[in-house]
Subunit: 257 residues, 2 copies
């Protein structure tokens, strides 16, 4: 076997490849069926994970807003003055948030209604038509489940789906791609109760697998590439309905809010 | 071309494969030369990135401490009472830290002398002989550079090296593998000043590529697997001396300390 070929032993080699052929997506686009057809044609197989950047999901679901159509209220006008942002964008940030977690100068870190903590409540103004912005999907897990069902049918077996966004982090520079919706596999692998090679009980070693898969795809998808999906093979996932909630820390246990 | 083969166009497909054949590492082990020989035999090529879990680096560099050899001081005894941890472990946490960032019950989040913010100052007590713990490498960038030089010579061209650790995150459950030492490539890709597909200037889109590569390898390396290195191919890296400092947010600009 050549050294550059993927290792067929599941769990020993990961392959992530961009899924090309996705056009500009407009509201109402049948994205799950479109992704299913492309993934099947690409050779995606049962056990693989399809990673989809949320922006195409949001666009297909109509989560695109013209700033000119937004009437900023008094709180948004105040936020706009403090941050030097567009008042209409500030209105959307506030309406998409359950809390503003931090604010300094132009930086607004919000907790979205889904529970994600990210800049500007995840509202994205790059790679969209001028004067419009893209909101996060209303329910990214539901979006992931719809895609999962379509792709699983097309490839003839269980697949995983991760809907992603690029997030900044506390303490670290650089955005990385993370899961905001998960379907078809367990987003966390819980090693607790297992034993290490010396036979000692493993504690506190739950692995954020869905986030690691999202990041792997993110290293290819990059901001500028314009290819919003990737197929990841070779990761040993555990069948599960999924649900990104498993990746969100209980606010009561979170020391950094 | 078969759908399961990596795409030869750089940047279109990522392949991460475990580097097998690494034995138990003892202090004084010539780890850079060992990794170089294994990587070359595995078919690693110029442009690839070698990801190495810090634990083998720490072990080779003698960063292993017997808790029985540690004399806990008064601050360590107080921390041990508050956290119900071993006083000797608490002494090491304090000596490895420049600050305790958060503490609640048994959870101690410290800022290490390197600037990493992580549980227990990165001290690891899994997969080591009973009664001992593993500290982080003193200078993981230097460790990465030594490995990088050896591997580059063995494969005949520039390679990247990432020394990693699994960290918990603010707001999110699940540890993910992140970079703590980088050599041979730029850990951040800065898209600022570039333009999106609509021609608008991209702002604030610096990508934490070294962390995404670390996470990709982490999805394979898992806690239980016992294989502490992986070769990552197909990521479009930029030649640079490296340095994990680029991934650490300036404390003055960090809203979450």
């Amino acid at each position: 076997m050549g050294a550059r070929e993927p290792d067929p032993r599941l769990g020993y080699a990961l392959n992530a490849r961009l899924l090309t052929g996705i056009p500009e997506i407009a509201p109402g686009d049948p994205l799950p069926a479109r992704l299913a057809a492309l993934a099947a044609a690409d050779g995606m197989e049962p056990g693989d994970v399809l990673v989809v950047a949320h922006k195409v999901v949001s666009k297909a679901e109509g989560q695109v807003v013209r700033l000119a159509d937004v009437s900023p209220g008094v709180a948004a006008r105040r936020l706009a003055e403090q941050t030097n942002k567009d008042p209409a964008l500030c209105e959307l940030i506030l309406s998409e948030s359950r809390a503003i977690v931090r604010q300094r100068n132009a930086v607004v870190i919000a907790e979205t209604h889904h529970g994600f903590i990210c800049a500007n409540a995840g509202i994205d103004s790059s790679n969209v038509a001028d004067g419009t912005v893209v909101l996060l999907p209303r329910d990214p897990d539901r979006s992931a489940r719809h895609i999962q069902a379509a792709v699983a049918a097309a490839v003839g077996g269980r697949v995983g789906v991760v809907v992603t966004d690029t997030h900044g982090r506390a303490w670290r520079r650089g955005l990385i791609n993370l899961a905001i919706g998960v379907a078809g596999f367990a987003p966390i692998i819980d090693y607790r109760g297992g034993r290490d090679r010396e036979g000692r009980l493993l504690v506190a070693t739950d692995q954020g697998l869905a986030d690691e898969i999202a990041a792997a795809a993110g290293s290819l998808m990059g901001k500028a590439a314009g290819t919003p999906a990737a197929v990841v093979s070779g990761v040993d996932t555990i069948a599960s309905p999924g649900g990104v909630g498993d990746l969100l820390r209980d606010p009561e246990l979170d020391l950094f809010r």
